[in-house]
């Protein structure tokens, strides 16, 4: 793991009207780190990772991702470049329903990276094999199970060969039986040198693969520590309360 920072934020704030979702977040994420973001609902963890590729514009503070300062002045081409380097996996999969699985994965490499169709489909096919569903390549997303859809969504994000992967509760919309197949893919991914930020409620996953846990509550970054420390003797009272309630 290199010691180079890939994501740095300083006093990031986000408000929705009167409600302040993020109240000054400072993080420093190194390249190749795997960060697990925990916290109760409404604590701002999803909002936080959405600010990192500007799906959610922030009101104050600074965000620097991969050397690019993200704010209103970021040029469109910089933002596009940045977004193509950040994979994002959604809770609701958000696959494109009108094209096949293979086309879903191969679309962005063609349109953004300028790959040829054959090249892009070759990449897509490799990724489908990696997530374990090469036989589903010509089906439409509606014909797949939730777990399979989420694996396709991960493959779609990986097709852009991103430096950073953001996961926004990737298993929360799945049946319990399907959670494992998605987590397996993510664990496999964690072994490679890729920066991952995972918002999740899967404590087992957090313990197993997380390099660092970030615990959010009410828009604050309450605690930041290694999984061992966080789960065995958390520093903050709020973290203790949270762990008592879920374990």
């Amino acid at each position: 793991m290199s010691e180079e920072s890939i994501i740095q934020t300083k006093d990031v704030t986000v408000s929705f009207g009167d409600f302040q979702a993020l109240k000054g977040i400072n993080v420093d994420i190194k390249q190749g780190e795997i960060i697990v973001v925990l916290g109760p609902s409404g604590s701002g963890k999803s909002t936080f990772i959405r600010t990192l590729n500007r799906l959610q514009p922030h009101d104050g503070g600074e965000i620097v991702v991969d050397g690019i300062q993200i704010n209103e002045d970021t040029t469109v081409s910089d933002l596009k470049q940045l977004r193509s380097d950040i994979g994002f996996v959604f809770q609701q999969f958000n696959l494109f329903p009108h094209i096949t699985v293979l086309e879903n994965i191969a679309l962005a490499p063609q349109k953004v990276r300028g790959m040829s169709k054959e090249e892009a489909e070759e990449v897509a096919m490799k990724l489908l094999e990696r997530v374990g569903i090469p036989e589903q390549k010509n089906k439409y997303p509606a014909a797949l199970s939730g777990g399979q859809q989420q694996r396709v969504a991960i493959a779609r994000a990986l097709a852009m060969d991103p430096k950073i992967m953001l996961f926004d509760e990737p298993t929360s919309a799945l049946d319990p039986e399907m959670i494992k197949e998605v987590l397996d893919v993510m664990i496999d991914l964690a072994k490679r040198d890729i920066t991952m930020i995972v918002v999740t409620h899967e404590m087992g996953f957090a313990k197993e693969v997380g390099d660092r846990i970030m615990f959010f509550d009410e828009g604050h970054l309450v605690e930041e520590s290694t999984p061992d420390v966080f789960f065995d003797n958390p520093k903050e009272d709020r973290s203790k309360l949270f762990l008592e309630q879920i374990l």
Partner: protein, 503 residues
């Protein structure tokens, strides 16, 4: 007359006592003499075998019997539909006669349907002289200028497009995974109708001199060979495509369908070039005519209107006033005026406004107005469709780094079209019917032809038949379009998501 009389007796002596019986109202005389309606039906039909029959079959049988009754003018014949009706009622007696009000509705609706069919059949088979339509068939379909004996026969210009379109359509049907019967049955009806229309030697009438022209310059055999070739080619393309699509995967079939749609657009443009090639050859657009002209106008406006509609829909959703304001202005301006007003605008004002720049003939001006009008309605339909595309789709595409234009065209638009397909086809049908308005502007569409036919020497004042025939043509195309959409929706799997299903 006899039927009405019979119905009166039926109501007075069968239905009424039956109702009274049910409500235990003692009217001694009728109660004793009249049995229950079910008993009567049972008595009459009880020994007949109870075939399973479909509603369509029963309908056709009743129609045939009604036709026979009308045609034969025999008094007993008019009882035959009634007898059939009684038999069907007997089979269905659980639903048709279970309560007094249902009995009443059954009888009433039968009476209404029967009177309507009698009148309709009388008109179609007895009062009308379809000769006027039949002898003017090329006039109605193609207008006067393609068959003018003095300028030469330009009808051949329709054959190549006919071949291409037929092959494309049949191939398109092949891609729909349906049983062969569902295609072959309508197709054979279509073939027979065409063979009848084209192959039958007949005099026809020149609109200019109002005189009869013998069939000397009409080679039925040649046309028949051409037609047979086209029909067989269509059948082959259907069978090949059907065979092929069975083994292909869904996405490959969708790809083929997209190619077919594109090629139909291209061959439409090719057809326009063939009809009016650059230079003095061919027939100028203002001289096109007949029902084909309606179709060309509709298709042309459809193609152009789609582009306009998509641009306006996205323009209206844009947050930039540069796009937003003109889009809203155009949509509101064109939707608020009647189409006729805009057509007059195209005829009288547009030449003055654009004359130095664009000297378009009336046909292209009219197509442009239709396209703009269609585009405005389409824009509003598509805007509705775009609003139903989940925001997550936009976010996912943005997160992948796609540009706003790519997101609009590749992600949002296809999904919006999928969900609004029924409304779009509704608008297309409306536009097809609106093309009959060009009749006001000296363009020789099918309705203009029907207006001129009654002035021919042999068919003076025969107004009704051509009008009915042209109305039927419009109905047939509109109905076909709506059936086709249902098929496409099924094919897209939309009916599982709450789409068309049965209509």
């Amino acid at each position: 007359m006899s039927f009405n009389f019979f119905l009166l007796i039926f109501i007075l002596f069968v239905l009424l006592p039956d109702l009274l019986n049910r409500y235990h109202i003692t009217v001694r005389a009728v109660q004793v003499s009249c049995p229950n309606i079910r008993e009567i039906l049972n008595l009459l039909y009880g020994k007949l075998p109870r075939y399973t029959y479909s509603a369509e079959l029963a309908f056709i049988i009743s129609l045939l019997l009604t036709y026979f009754a009308v045609k034969s003018e025999l008094s007993f014949a008019s009882y035959l539909p009634l007898v059939t009706f009684g038999y069907i009622a007997h089979l269905n007696s659980k639903e048709l006669f279970d309560t007094p009000s249902n009995s009443f509705i059954t009888i009433l609706s039968f009476f209404i349907l029967y009177s309507f069919f009698v009148k309709a059949l009388e008109f179609v088979f007895i009062e009308s002289n379809w000769d006027v339509v039949f002898k003017n068939r090329r006039f109605i379909f193609l207008g006067p200028y393609f068959i003018n004996p003095y300028t030469g026969d330009e009808i051949w210009r329709f054959w190549p497009p006919f071949y291409v379109f037929l092959v494309i359509f049949c191939a398109g049907y092949g891609t729909l995974s349906e049983s062969k019967v569902k295609f072959l049955l309508p197709y054979s009806i279509f073939c027979l109708a065409l063979i009848f229309l084209i192959g039958y030697d007949s005099d026809y009438y020149s609109y200019k001199n109002g005189m009869k022209i013998s069939n000397r310059n009409y080679e039925a055999t040649e046309s028949l060979f051409l037609l047979a070739g086209a029909l067989i080619l269509g059948l082959i393309s259907y069978l090949l495509m059907h065979q092929r699509c069975k083994i292909l995967e869904e996405f490959q079939v969708n790809y083929i369908q997209q190619v077919l749609i594109l090629s139909s657009f291209l061959s439409f443009i090719g057809m326009l070039f063939l009809l009016d090639p650059p230079g003095d050859e061919g027939v100028k657009p203002s001289y096109w005519g007949g029902f084909v002209l309606n179709l060309i106008f509709a298709f042309g406006s459809l193609v152009i209107g789609f582009g306009i509609g998509i641009a306006l829909a996205f323009g209206r959703r844009s947050s930039l006033p540069v796009f937003y304001v003109p889009s809203v202005a155009i949509i509101e301006l064109f939707r608020s005026g009647p189409l006729v007003a805009w057509l007059f605008f195209a005829q009288f004002l547009v030449p003055d406004l654009f004359n130095p720049v664009w000297e378009a003939d009336i046909a292209s001006r009219i197509i442009f107005v239709f396209a703009l009008f269609f585009g405005c309605y389409l824009a509003e339909i598509l805007r509705g469709g775009l609003q139903t595309v989940p925001h997550g789709q936009f976010e996912a595409a943005t997160a992948l780094g796609l540009s706003p234009t790519q997101i609009k065209l590749r992600i949002q638009l296809p999904q919006a079209i999928r969900t609004t397909l029924p409304a779009i086809v509704g608008q297309m049908i409306a536009m097809l019917k609106d093309t009959s308005l060009v009749y006001f502007f000296g363009v020789y569409d099918a309705f203009k032809a029907t207006k001129d036919i009654p002035s021919q020497r042999d068919f003076l004042a025969e107004y009704e038949e051509p009008l009915v025939f042209v109305a039927f043509l419009f109905w047939a195309v509109a109905y076909y379009l709506s059936r086709l959409t249902t098929k496409i929706e099924k094919n897209l799997g939309l009916d599982n998501e709450g789409g068309a299903g049965r209509t």
